[in-house]
């Protein structure tokens, strides 16, 4: 990995990449990584790889899944059997 002489070095930027992609860093740390990625051609592909991977993973979410009516009835039946009375 190339040493970039930025605010943070490549090692530090790469260590923070997942947290950066998840937006789990403090605003200052987010800025540090963002600035580094803007200037470092070595680290940018790693960021792009992580971004593509997480975007693909997010598509596996069952976005439209709703509990089937039969399941709702089943849940209510089991709750009533347990004494639920609303």
């Amino acid at each position: 990995m190339t040493e970039c002489n930025r605010d943070i070095d490549c090692r530090s930027a790469v260590q923070k990449l997942w947290d950066y992609l998840d937006e789990e860093l403090t605003p200052d740390r987010m800025d540090e990584v963002r600035r580094h990625l803007e200037r470092c051609g070595d680290c940018l592909p790693h960021h792009e790889y992580g971004r593509v991977f997480l975007a693909a993973l997010a598509t596996a979410r069952q976005t439209d899944a709703r509990a089937p009516d039969a399941l709702r009835r089943r849940v209510m039946d089991s709750l009533r059997a347990a004494g639920f009375n609303a």
Partner: protein, 229 residues
């Protein structure tokens, strides 16, 4: 819920119209404990049951099987109802239900659980991207961006072991923060981070295996992934 008897928080309709004194003669008087139980049930109906779709989706992401998800959801709400008295009013009911859902799921898979030692989160973060670095070098990132990952991801998630699956599902599929995942899983944030990064790394490796099995070559850097045969 479709089965609701009426709006939450409203008293049951009186069987007899009239003055308050007349009502008192016709309506069976509930004891104080019965009243409290009724209030709890109404709160459960208003605060927990509306999350049945969220719980179902989370269960489906964990089990990857509709019938298994149904079982998990039913058990989740039954356990939630029985322990409703432990729920802190005003706290996040969805998060509380997710904790129960995950525990129910784990119990259902107890025999299949394989324990894997967790290492330091920072090391995992670094090694995860180190793997990415190697893959980037041989053009694998370009393949991942071009092939249809849907079937491979479904299979990879099916095969992903606990405790990594729950961390990945919560953060990457359910869009929960590390802090929320930490609360749901009952572990420190550093452990969430470690499990998440390890889980992602395993998924990446599985996807690259899928790409190779599907005949996508990684030899031609910068070119479109092509079938070898």
């Amino acid at each position: 819920m479709d089965e609701r008897g009426g709006p939450a928080g409203q008293p049951a309709p009186s069987p007899a119209a009239g003055t308050k004194d007349e009502d008192a003669r016709f309506v069976p008087q509930m004891t104080a404990p019965a009243n409290a139980a009724r209030e709890d049930d109404l709160r459960f109906e208003a605060e927990a049951l509306p999350y049945i779709d969220d719980v179902y989706r989370f269960a489906l992401s964990l089990t990857r099987d509709a019938a298994d998800a149904d079982d998990v959801v039913q058990e989740t709400f039954l356990r939630a109802y029985r322990s409703w008295h432990t729920f802190q009013p005003g706290s996040d009911a969805r998060r509380w239900l997710f904790t129960i859902t995950r525990n129910v799921f784990l119990r259902s898979r107890e025999r299949e659980r394989r324990h894997v030692d967790i290492e330091d989160g920072d090391l995992e973060a670094l090694s995860s991207f180190a793997a990415a670095t190697d893959q980037e070098r041989d053009g694998s990132d370009r393949i991942l961006s071009r092939i249809d990952l849907g079937p491979a991801l479904q299979r990879a998630l099916n095969e992903l072991d606990e405790p990594f699956k729950s961390a990945v599902v919560l953060v990457d599929l359910e869009d929960q923060s590390y802090e929320a995942a930490s609360e749901i899983l009952g572990v420190p944030i550093g452990t969430v981070r470690s499990r998440l990064f390890r889980g992602r790394r395993i998924l990446q490796e599985k996807l690259m295996t899928y790409a190779r099995d599907a005949g996508f070559t990684t030899a031609q850097r910068g070119q479109r992934g092509s079938k070898d045969d």
